[in-house]
Amino acid sequence: MSVDVTGVDRDTLVRPIRTVSTRYLAALSVALGMIGVWLFFYLQQLRHGLIVTNLADWGSGGGVPWGLYIGAFIWWVGIAHGGIILSAAVRLLGMDTYQPVARLAELLTIAALTCAGIFILIHVGRPDRLVTSVIPAWPTRVQWSPLMWDVTVITAYFVLTATYLGLTIRYDLHRLRNRLPNRLDPIYDVLLVGYSETEDAVVERMVWWIAFAIIIMAPLLLHGGVIPWLFALLPSMAGWAGGVQGPSFLSIALTSAVSGIIIVAAAFRYAYGWAELIPEAVFRGLGQWLGFFSLLFLWLQLQQVITGIFAAPTTLQHATEVKIATPLYWVAIGVVALAMLYVFAASLRPSLFSLPLLVALSVGVLAGTLIEKVLFVVEGLMHAHFDLYAGVPGAYTPSAVELSALVGTVGIVVLFFLVVSKVIPVVELHAIEDHGEVEG
């Protein structure tokens, strides 16, 4: 299934940069408002400490020391990693159909990684020490602490993705320069510093290799490796340890990322009348990927539930029983299953396909994966092997301060897209013009 969008002209591509609508301003203020709400609450946390969260110490008191912040951290990292994996796959395998959304996926990666970083920052008790403690400790701790592996890998991927994006953007900016607003010239000058068309061939090779590296390392270092190892390697919690976490995390990352890309792409298509640039076929294809990844997600959940309840060791069995007795868990499973069934049905009967419905289901899937992640962290912590404490499992409901951070980070992603789309083309030139025919 290949879609030809090469008929679309360059003016369409730069449309977001050249217009400012009232709807845009409205979206901007909503995003800023969301960030403002979070900042208001976060100031309280800065003033009074983490006591304003509903986190607590597991043990004699009961409660969980890791909660929504860590769950949301994994969720954002999952979206980011899934995003970069998908964009790398598009470049590596030459899946031209998805070329119009490749850059959106990369931008989503940058935005989501930023949010993941924010969650680490607000999770720790001493954010002021993140630099002074982490950097001197890095050389000696990196071979030990899974958290240090995470920090390292996330930073590395941030740099990698930004490089990747920077390199490919130069190509487009150079060729679209005459259509871009003069007031942003200083930015373009910086982005294009030292550019000459002779670098294109080199950049293309570099981008291919970066994409190759990302795909190869995805299961090892991204969401199939270091992130699940944060939990899977611990001897203390029954629901966390074990080899299935790697594949399971990766399936969740990909499911969330496809949902995220569907939502972002649909928003741009709607806002800028880009039906030609991002045709329905792209969404049908993305929908099928969503269905496939959802299937993997459900399959791996099934693995965990079955191995956890059938003649499992007592603590694991207990943790699993609690998990499947939690209604929210079934909400998460339910929305993912629903999305899967819908997209498979729509593949069989194309007339069933509706973009708004797909977007709605994607929102549901994102909510489902977030719920699953938070439950994984929280319920994992509530069922330790050592279960003599009467206070364990305690109760945990995220406080307003914690919930506001979710609102704030979603606001940050929206703001990011709103701002970036005013500066650079969020769909690359290659999507509408074949490599050969693109001339100044």
């Binding site: 309280q44 003033r47 009074h48 400490g49 983490l50 006591i51 304003v52 969260t53 509903n54 986190l55 607590a56 110490d57 597991w58 043990g59 004699s60 008191g61 009961g62 409660g63 020391p65 890791w66 999770h123 720790v124 008790g125 001493r126 954010p127 020490r129 993140l130 403690s133 982490v134 400790a137 000696t140 701790r141 030990w144 602490s145 899974p146 958290l147 240090m148 920090v151 611990l234 001897p235 203390s236 919690m237 007592t314 912590l381 330790a384 092997h385 050592f386 279960d387 003599l388 404490y389 009467a390 206070g391 364990v392 305690g394 109760a395 406080s399």
Partner: protein, 431 residues
Amino acid sequence: MSTDDDIDTPPDDEERHRRLLDETDYDTDLGLELARDAQRVTAGELSEAAFYRRYHDRIVEEFEMDDREIDLPDPDALAAGEGGDGGVGDGSGDAGGFLDRLGDALEGFDPDDGESRRSVMKKGAAAGALALGGLGSTGGAGPGDGTAAGAAGSGEEGDGTRWGMTINLNNCDGCLACMVACDQEHNLSRGANWMYVFAFEDENQGEETNFLPRTCQHCTDSPCTKVCPVGARHTREEDGLVLTDYDICIGCRYCEVSCPYGVNYFQWGEPDVPESEIDDDHQIDDRGRWVGSRPPEGVMGKCTFCVDRQDGQMGEEKIGTTACEEACTMDAIHFGDLNDPESPPNRHLREYRESQENDRSDYPNRKEHTVSTFQLLEERGTDPNVTFVGNAPSQDARQVDGPVTYEEMGLTDNRKEVLDQGAEAAGGETA
């Protein structure tokens, strides 16, 4: 690996060796025979040359060493080499005698073939360690050697101090005096029960209420120190204390989620006792690091085994004691250097065992005493430095109210409630 003059391999040693060898790819019987005969060589019952001839072919077969032969040692060289204690890792092979050659062989033979060298090393390490260990001629052996020797149980009991406890559950009556003492000594915030006494009932242990005082286990293989991203949670080399550097900790709480025992208490809000009321002697250890007393806000805390006392900062006479031990009038808590056979934890265990002798006149196969001991969650591989005397709580054990409640002693059991109040008051409260 220590040199051992003892010639006889006691049967249970042999059992241990067998188990050890069974775990390797290596031929167990050959390994055991080698070990036995190696000891006969040391005892002078068997000549080295005969030992060599007896096993040469089988060793070659087992270790795939088909492209180099070991020369039969020259009797003169052998005699010359006898006095020397040549390291087996030393490849010179001139006057070192046959044993050195065998050592070389077991370490991995063909220097040109990296792959087979590795696999030979792996296979040969255990057997080599056993055989050569018996001969007492091992200097610096190959890398695999140390592992095998460690696993064989030698050299574990080390030098230096290793603080630890023996807690006798049979003596504890759940009075909570230790908890109060700890709380006061370390200026803890409400509910941060570094020492926590469980009262529990266990349907497998009859009707009565049992007690279990729980400190930090100061694990030798502590997961908390492994996972700490910044090295704030660390094991103090001089004495094995597991401590938190309050100046470095970023408050990520990874140590807390990785600890299987739930002994960590984070400082979520402002501490109940302000900094100004605690003097430095309690806080700064002998290395100049801030590891003692309650943690500041945003930082992790837990039982320190009274590091200030161990460093002599509360007076010479307090070294080797803890606040909880001192407060315990029931003789349940015994703190001291586990490497010292005469320390209170070791002595108590010995004396208690002696006082609970088994009747072996009628039943000679019984063990000497009736005392059972355990460590918490031994199977998690954390190697705790706290040993309990009594029966381990089973999976069915559940915590119950004890004869003395936490509240009666002015303690807070449920820290979560304090924290919740704090959260509601948006941090106006402390905890």
